[in-house]
């Protein structure tokens, strides 16, 4: 079996072969510029520019790989600002011993994700670290998006609706179950997906409706609500009955004592919008596969300023506190 060896980082023939025959040929011979920089032409004055590094165990999981995660994560960071994602870089840090076959599968999933999102991978870098000095593969992606409408940030006021494009907690729960070989975790899958088409579609129809949006990755939906209410004159209230959460996610979360509202998502955007547009936004979301379970999950209130909280099924309220550190499973 072919594996990554130190020679792949030597700067010589082995490295060139890896880059040309494996990386470039998979990620895009037509888009990747092998010179010191990629030269790009954009038709606008403003661009959005972002970067993110990806480390995850396991590197392949139900619903995606570290590669699709790296593309979709960066695409989503651009999209939630209202930008149209255009170009992506791909820097790989590979650990000695990584099977080339695994690398190929990850690169293919990157390419597929890029095609789906409509972004071009234009430049990159490859480094090799000795065995034991890395966790098989790390990926950094930077992305450039063109700002073709106004930036989607407007003052939030009580009465605004809180919307999510689908089921909550899928990615974090699936990864936690895999990491711990939970035998009772069948049916869990990451929601890893690019959201730019869905978001662009909303902006196209309702250019002024969105007050705020963010992809709900680490820390989950509850952490985003804590971010927007911090120091604010309003609170964010969720309705437990309205939350779209898969039964499998609920089950595993209950057993582990984990709250899906704090679990990571990789294909979910939380939108705060003027309530008069809420139903129309949901209707647009539902036309996209990433939005088929979209729902209004809450409302901005003046009742408990600075707090994220939830009205439970039975009508009581409970606080959704700021997460201190990672959630640990409980005893019984």
């Amino acid at each position: 079996m072919d594996i990554i060896v130190p020679g792949h980082g030597s700067g010589g023939k082995m490295m060139n072969d890896l880059i040309n025959n494996t990386i470039k040929s998979i990620l895009g011979s037509d888009t990747i510029q092998l010179d010191d920089s990629a030269i790009l032409t954009v038709p606008v004055h403003s661009i959005a520019f972002t970067t993110d590094s990806y480390t995850i165990t396991p590197i392949e999981f139900s619903g995606g790989t570290i590669g699709s995660l790296a593309v979709n994560g960066t695409v989503n960071d651009l999209a939630v600002m209202g930008a149209v994602p255009r170009f992506i870089s791909c820097a790989l840090i590979l650990e000695e011993g990584l099977p080339i076959e695994t690398l190929q599968r990850i690169l293919i999933s990157m390419k597929e994700a890029a095609l789906k999102a409509g972004v071009a991978i234009v430049t990159g870098d490859t480094k090799i670290v000795p065995r034991g000095k890395g966790d098989r593969i790390y990926i950094n992606t930077a992305g450039i998006g063109t700002v073709e409408s106004s930036v989607q940030r407007r003052p939030i006021v009580p009465g605004d609706s809180i919307i999510v494009n689908g089921t909550i907690g899928d990615h974090g729960t699936a990864i936690m179950a895999l990491r711990n070989n939970l035998s009772f975790s069948k049916g869990l899958s990451s929601d890893c997906a690019a959201l730019n088409h869905l978001i662009q579609d909303i902006i196209k129809h309702f250019p002024d409706a969105i007050k705020f949006m963010r992809d709900a990755t680490r820390g989950g939906v509850a952490s985003i609500l804590n971010e927007i209410t911090k120091g604010a004159s309003f609170g964010a209230k969720l309705y437990e009955e309205a939350l779209p959460i898969r039964d499998e996610v609920k089950g595993v979360s209950e057993i582990l004592g984990i709250d899906p509202l704090y679990s990571a998502n990789e294909g979910k955007v939380v939108i705060v919008a003027d309530s008069i547009y809420a139903n129309d936004i949901i209707a647009i979301m539902k036309k996209h596969p990433e939005g088929k379970d979209a729902a209004v999950i809450g409302t901005i209130t003046s009742e408990f300023p600075e707090k994220a909280y939830m009205q439970t099924t039975i009508g009581g309220n409970r606080i959704l506190p700021v997460l201190i550190e990672e959630q640990l499973p409980r005893i019984c």
Binding site: L256, T312, G315, I319, I324, R330, I331
Partner: protein, 352 residues
């Protein structure tokens, strides 16, 4: 009846005098908050937290011993995640792990047995804590290790029994409790009738309750009715899981491995016959039989009132350290870090 209608009944319940009820189980502590049921309590109803969080009632000495065994005998400490950040006298498992002690978080005690099977050249010490609910699973693990002839799996016995602790609270007369919300999962093992003494010997009502919102509402309503009608009775709300006699099979397995013995409870002290120790047939698996670590003298943290809290004498917000010197990032007592700890629940959900 519709759950929402019952919720209205509870929120509008008229109490002639203030009523104090105790939830014995740590999961109930959290669920009363999480489901919002505590938020709709009628005026005059007070919920007092009992000694039902297994991590919280574990004494400092237990963790000190675990850490000492880990270092001095080069063992892998296997534990439920809840224990990681609990302060010991001088440190915590999490801090010791950062210093290089091998600590593995497991989701089921059977994972610890497998860890031993997979690492035959390493000694695995599983921190066996929990109440009657988890003890049968821990007994099964010891039996499994015996069957598979796994010689490098040991447990540090720390399991406790809930009934003796409730008796101690009732005997002490330190707290005036009008009635009890009894633990559903524990009762599934020991049976509803194990609690009948609360009514017959102490003249107090109690209800065995499940963990869903409707269980909590219905259970609290049942208990309030018993209290207001001065009807000392033990009632089972959680009939879909709890039987009168409990689970005789689980109890049989439990007592084929363990025997009752004295146990030290944080804040309460030694309670006779309230702990589970390995019986003579399974003494080989007892880490305390295998190892004789030097353990530094246990030390309580100055100002920490977890002890009084676990006796029901105070609620978390009565402790001057609560939310100030003691918070989830820098916990002084275990009640702030365990997911079932009352302080953790109050800190997370109780502040408005």
């Amino acid at each position: 009846m519709d759950i929402k209608k019952e919720a209205v009944l509870l929120s509008q319940y008229t109490l002639q005098t203030p009523v104090a009820i105790m939830e014995v189980c740590g999961t109930h502590t959290t669920e009363f908050f999480r489901t919002g049921v505590k938020d709709i309590f009628p005026q005059g109803l007070r919920l007092i937290d009992g000694p039902g969080c297994p991590v919280c009632v574990t004494s400092n000495d237990y963790l000190d011993t675990a850490i000492a065994i880990g270092w001095q005998y080069d063992c892998i400490i296997a534990t439920f995640g809840d224990m990681m950040k609990v302060p010991s006298s001088y440190s915590s498992l999490s801090k010791e792990k950062s210093k290089g002690l091998t600590v593995e978080v497991v989701y089921s005690p059977m994972d610890a047995v497998q860890l031993a099977a997979d690492n035959p050249d390493k000694k695995i010490v599983f921190l066996s804590i929990g109440f009657e609910t988890t003890a049968p699973a821990e007994a099964v693990c010891v039996l499994e290790a015996k069957k598979r002839n796994i010689k490098n799996f040991f447990i540090l016995p720390g399991n406790k029994l809930t009934v003796p602790a409730v008796k101690v609270l009732l005997d002490s007369g330190e707290v005036n409790i009008d009635g009890f919300i009894l633990p559903g999962h524990v009762s599934a093992i020991i049976g509803k009738k194990a609690w009948n003494f609360i009514a017959t010997d102490y003249g107090k009502p109690a209800v065995v309750v499940g963990f869903e919102d409707h269980d909590l509402i219905r259970g609290t309503l049942l208990l309030l009715n018993l209290i207001t009608h001065a009807n000392p009775n033990v009632v089972n709300e959680y009939t879909r899981v709890v039987r009168d006699d409990g689970n005789p099979k689980a109890l049989e397995i439990l007592y084929s491995v363990f025997k009752k013995g004295d146990a030290i409870w944080r804040g309460i002290g030694t309670i006779p016959e309230s702990g589970l120790l390995l019986n003579d047939d399974h003494a080989y698996f007892d880490a305390l039989q295998q190892f004789t670590p030097e353990v530094p003298p246990p030390k309580e943290h100055p100002g920490c009132r977890c002890g009084e809290l676990l006796r029901g004498v105070i609620i978390p917000t009565d402790c001057p350290l609560f939310g100030k010197a003691c918070n989830p990032e820098h916990a002084i007592g275990p009640c702030m870090v365990s997911s079932e700890g009352p302080c953790s629940a109050y800190y997370k959900y109780g502040r408005k």
